[in-house]
Amino acid sequence: MDAIGLWIGAFLTLGIISFLYKDNPWYKLSEAIFVGVSAGYWFITLFWDSIYSKFYIGITDKGDYYLIVGAILGFLMLLRLVPKIGWISRWPLSFIVGAISGFYLINYFSSNVMRQVANTVMPLFSTEYGQSLFTAPIGTIVANIIVAGGTFTGLVYFFFSKEHKGAFGVTARIGIWVIMITFGATFGYTVMSRMSLLIGRMDFIFGDWLGLIK
């Protein structure tokens, strides 16, 4: 069984890689298998996890009857299949969108806005109270100025209701540069880890499957 699994794995691995050359029947076959099997897999996992473990067990074992509301909303969703009353399916949809909007409004506001502003209120010359002026190393001072100033100019870039002209435009331009450095940093940081993914697959083909490298 293991050997069959290994061969199937190798066949599919090469099928996907072949896409780099061009679209071809091998890739199409791998893609078709991927789509069919994974859609089924996800449904089964969700079914047993949500409908059985959370819903059925929740009601029968724990008596959480409020879960029935979820099932009713889910059922209303299926009314789409009945053309005449299909519009009712907008109710669960608006329920979800309302809940997500309400929840994320406060959530993002506190974690993204409040917390980040609080973190940026920091002294430029030293990182602790009680230190006198310029006792911090010059590197720290420059770094702190860049963190506070960079955040400030970055926000200027995002301003919608003012034209990026004059001094405001210059600040906004510095802001986009800071943002570009951020992007560059993330880019550079990720390149290496992506390479290691490929090495992992090569290891599977040449090591596990062909046994050429040990």
Partner: protein
């Protein structure tokens, strides 16, 4: 009426969740709604999965281009559904976890989905290379800045970066690539991240308000 009810639901539920943050007895509302969402999502799958089947069966019956692959998709989908729902080939029988070790369902996952998924993921190595090449021909100042920062960080994560700049005296050690990389990560990178995050936070606040107040309603299919 058809138009109004969804907007009322959105307004009521949205406001309820905003208010619930400040009222301790309503704390569990979020978890309850998450459970509802999970349940609704499974019901919705009957629409999604049904659509998947319909699309491929139509393709098959009309002998559209590449219809052969539709057979594979439909068969794969059906086989997994049967195995997973009836827990066929599961050593623990119908009461065991569907993903129990040694079950046929889990074997399918390990020998089909794992290699497919990880290879698709691994293609990124090639795409990262081609995107880097594209960035390399930097068209403007912004792209050049991105590229330089990326290059410093990349070198900083390899022994090559150290070798390249080890001649720089200790008093200017900040200019050595590894320390420069750390500096970029901790200062300008942090500043950019913060500006982006604060912007996102405000963007979400504004969009959520538009949705809760019913000003934004395209998603409901109610264009004025």
């Amino acid at each position: 009426m058809r138009r109004q009810i969804p907007l009322i639901i959105t307004f009521f539920i949205g406001t309820l969740l905003v208010v619930s943050v400040f009222i301790p007895p309503m704390e569990s509302l979020k978890e309850t709604f998450t459970l509802y969402f999970d349940i609704i999502a499974v019901f919705a799958f009957f629409l999604g999965g049904g659509n998947l089947l319909r699309v491929h069966l139509t393709k098959l019956s009309r002998r559209k281009q590449d219809w052969v692959y539709s057979i594979v998709t439909v068969v794969g989908f059906a086989v997994v559904l049967v195995i997973g729902l009836l827990k066929l080939g599961n050593p623990g029988g119908i009461t065991a976890s569907p993903t129990a070790e040694g079950s046929l369902f889990q074997t399918l996952f390990n020998s089909i989905l794992v290699p497919l998924g990880s290879t698709m993921y691994a293609l990124l190595a090639f795409f990262v290379a081609s995107a880097s090449y594209r960035a390399f021909r930097a068209k403007n100042r912004e792209a050049t800045i991105l590229l330089i920062a990326a290059f410093v960080i990349l070198l900083g994560r390899t022994p090559f970066g150290m070798m390249l700049t080890s001649w720089i005296p200790e008093s200017f050690s900040i200019l050595q690539i590894p320390s420069l990389a750390v500096w970029i990560m901790n200062s300008p990178n942090l500043a950019g991240q913060r500006a982006i995050m604060i912007g996102i936070g405000l963007g979400v606040v504004s969009m959520s308000i538009r949705i809760i107040l019913g000003i934004e309603r395209t998603y409901l299919g109610e264009e004025k």
